[in-house]
Assembly symmetry: C2
């Protein structure tokens, strides 16, 4: 059996091993924690749970919790239930935490995932007292080797007062697959010398001043698996529509069958689109994304994807069995980077990505809501969708045309919250078709979106709104007193359908 202490290769640090409970005892009311973890992968698992156990009954105890993105292992749920979080950023997906956020019990700052490092560096946010990061090992020269994500770990470690390392002996042997690079402080920055996804910029681990490491704990738990949702009939059709768009780009001479580096957001819809590539004519693909999901490994296995860059690997239990137990075949095909680099505008624009992200709803002029249900209630957060959409060669948003059995139309007159403006949205895709909005004025966009993307049951209602709005004039015609009537009707009657249209 493995001697866990051998993971601490810088021997002088071996004396720092403590229990999670002891490490948690150092965390005081009012402190700010920077946790590893991005889309459930590579999250610190032991100390946050010990902290919850220690403090859930301490009246008024609160900490700020900063992460890469979402955590797994029910950590956000337990933190929220214990009521010990003052401020949380930049992303979460937990149902309980979401409830607390929307009740106003917990302050949530929804940030572009590439922006968090900037505000940490600038000193605008509270100083991080403890960075708590999961690791495979600490090297002889004192570098922390991350596990299945990098996220914000390196920037947290660099700017924290103290560091706690959680060595997770259950994680796969990904050593050598990380590329840690810091763009540095303003005034000292130089161009990021990357022109393709496989370029390496930095070190295989996170450099750290050993004096900042206050404790090391061990844990042995796999990441929370991603739900293994295969495509359904609608997401398959959506994927086919998106491939039709790409084929047309090839016909027009704007792309080749090798496309351009791809980014795909998290979730079953983006995953379905990637599955759609599996049996397509597209080949020699490259990927520059945040998260790699199951479909990506199938694409690599099939020889469709030559290289994939990411900030995190989030896969199903089934896929973990093959990938985690034998990562060797992927070691020269995947690199994990800090999320500031995976989502960096400079690199995204230089490479000319095709970005595929999921919308909650979009409006007839192409504005996209990614975050707020009926304008007020937070789902997860904007994540990296803005980093990619703004700077990509082609910014694509996908969604099913209706939700809740048809009571909610994903195409509305006016989105109830704007995350991506008309300026940043190129192509919209639903199971009914795609609308290519590039170079179109708002009055050209609306009929195209309605006819190509909306569910047939809502098309007439949408065209009525648009036509009535056009009578009033304007670059972007609207009837402000009716703009949100679909959302208020939903709240009042349970459906966005107008009364005479309800079946």
């Amino acid at each position: 059996m493995e001697n866990k202490m051998e993971r601490i290769r810088l021997k002088s640090l071996q004396d720092l091993v403590v229990t999670p409970q002891e490490a948690a005892s150092w965390i005081q009311d009012g402190m700010t924690l920077g946790l590893s973890g991005f889309t459930r992968a590579g999250d610190a698992k032991a100390v946050p749970h010990a902290l919850v156990d220690r403090t859930r009954n301490i009246d008024g105890f609160k900490v700020n919790v900063f992460t890469g993105a979402s955590l797994g292992f029910e950590t956000d749920e337990k933190l929220a239930e214990a009521g010990i979080v003052n401020k949380r950023l930049p992303f979460q997906v937990d149902r309980t935490m979401r409830g607390k956020i929307n009740e106003g019990d917990l302050l949530f700052v929804d940030q572009h995932l590439s922006h968090t490092a900037e505000v940490v560096r600038q000193g605008v946010l509270p100083k991080i007292d403890f960075a708590i990061v999961e690791a495979l090992a600490i090297t002889e020269d004192g570098m922390i080797i991350p596990t299945t994500s990098v996220g914000n770990s390196s920037i947290f470690v660099e700017h924290a007062k103290n560091v706690i390392v959680e060595i997770n002996t259950a994680q796969p042997d990904f050593e050598g697959m990380h590329d840690i690079y810091d763009i540095g402080m303003y005034g000292e920055r130089v161009p990021v010398q990357m022109t393709k996804p496989s370029d390496r910029l930095g070190t295989v681990g996170i450099p750290v001043d050993p004096a900042k490491i206050k404790g090391i704990v061990f844990n042995h738990h796999l990441d929370s698996p991603s739900p293994n949702e295969g495509p359904d009939a609608e997401t398959e059709t959506m994927a086919a529509n998106l491939l039709d768009f790409l084929r047309n780009e090839v016909r027009e001479g704007r792309l080749t069958n090798e496309l351009a580096p791809l980014q795909a957001g998290i979730g079953s819809q983006a995953n379905a689109v990637l599955y759609g590539l599996l049996d397509s004519e597209f080949e020699n693909l490259e990927v520059y994304s945040e998260v790699l999901q199951d479909a990506m490994f199938d694409l690599i296995d099939a020889g469709k994807v030559n290289f994939a860059s990411c900030a995190s690997i989030t896969i199903s239990e089934e896929k973990m069995k093959t990938v985690f137990e034998n990562p060797e075949p992927y070691k020269d095909k995947i690199v994990l980077r800090p999320q500031e680099i995976s989502n960096l505008p400079e690199v995204i624009r230089r490479m000319g990505l095709i970005a595929i992200n999921t919308a909650l709803e979009f409006d007839i002029y192409g504005n996209v809501n990614s975050t707020h249900v009926t304008g007020t209630k937070m789902m997860n957060g904007i994540g990296g969708s803005g980093d990619f959409a703004r700077n990509s060669r082609i910014a694509i948003f996908v969604t099913k045309s209706v939700a809740k059995g048809g009571d909610i139309s994903s195409v509305v007159p006016f989105v109830s919250h704007v995350d991506h403006t008309e300026h940043d949205v190129d192509v919209l895709v639903t199971e009914h078709g795609y609308a290519d909005l590039r170079g179109l004025a708002p009055r050209e966009r609306a009929p195209k979106i309605i006819q190509n993307c909306a569910h047939p049951m809502y098309r007439e209602q949408l065209m009525e709104y648009f036509n009535e709005a056009c009578e009033r004039g304007g670059q972007t015609p609207h009837i402000l007193e009716k703009a949100f009537s679909w959302h208020t009707r939903l709240n009042e009657t349970g459906t966005m359908l107008e009364p005479e249209l309800v079946r």
Copy 2:
């Protein structure tokens, strides 16, 4: 007297001189024109007017008109009046054209100013039949030397089928002050090797295949001057508030008195902010902006600004007299670049700019409307504000707290159009104070914006909305059926004030 022909230093091109009327006769119905011109500076003046004269009575004659930004010389007015424009992009400021846009007579595509070059390069827009660009001269080796702006001229020339050069003998001797650089096609791009505003990347003129030059015309007209609006009491107070914010950043150790490279949008409010720097302790400043206005030259003259990079110089008649007649002192202090480079996310983020732009209205959560009056009617366009705000170190938006003598509040419950989302807005400034929103959740933002930025006459009404919305819950509390009630009240009653509050 100058021999105009000497401006055509590549002698073989001297035979191409024609009248503007002859050049205009080449332009056929359905064609797409790429005109020089950015914020009234360096615009093609002769051929567009000759085109209007020739075609205003031709039934159904239409062309697409692409530019850098706004044109001067009443060109947009005449184009709009003649009714010969099918599609216009990416920016305009003309009253007549605005009217046609809002009536739906003219298609306007409102783009981030750094994005136009990308869509031209990709071939998404109609191919440019004629690039018509103003020049100081054509060099011996066939480069076109721009005048008072670069804008999109270089990308238009590169991708147009034909080029018409308008040599303007009235323009100042700016030769050597331009730096023309093309980031190139996807797949071939390399890092833009710029780390400070004074770095040079390319050539002093626009390289062109001489075979593409179809004609050369002469003109002799100064640019339309910028209105010389000095600061008023409110913009002076606004500037003082912004300086207070910057001083606080210095006190907190996040900036020094040298600040960071500055960007300031066009208009009297941004100009006033720059005037505010004149008598401040801030020094050794650098500027990386789109447009240089009057105040910038005063800052350079006073030794406050060491270097300024821009895409255009737009100054008043008075300032033209000193700067244009003796540009020598500015030749090593100013560089003019293509707008894709002046507005490039890569460079803006690397340098860590402080970006100051004007809002039309903002809401209690920090979303900004830069373009649409009451959600529908286009003013000018988003311009470069999004390029800068998203990628800057500190994204600041300024506006007076009320308009129309108090009937319009610039602070509203929900902006009627979103150009900049809460994710991209750091600091809001009015004549009443500033709200630093960095690191704040929406529920923290609202009271701060209302108390610090709104006009006192609207604060109670705003707090009432916010408090009522909070009772309903949500990350971003709203009452959707009342969200636009301020705008609809304005339309119906002439004021956003609630009836009981109207004086």
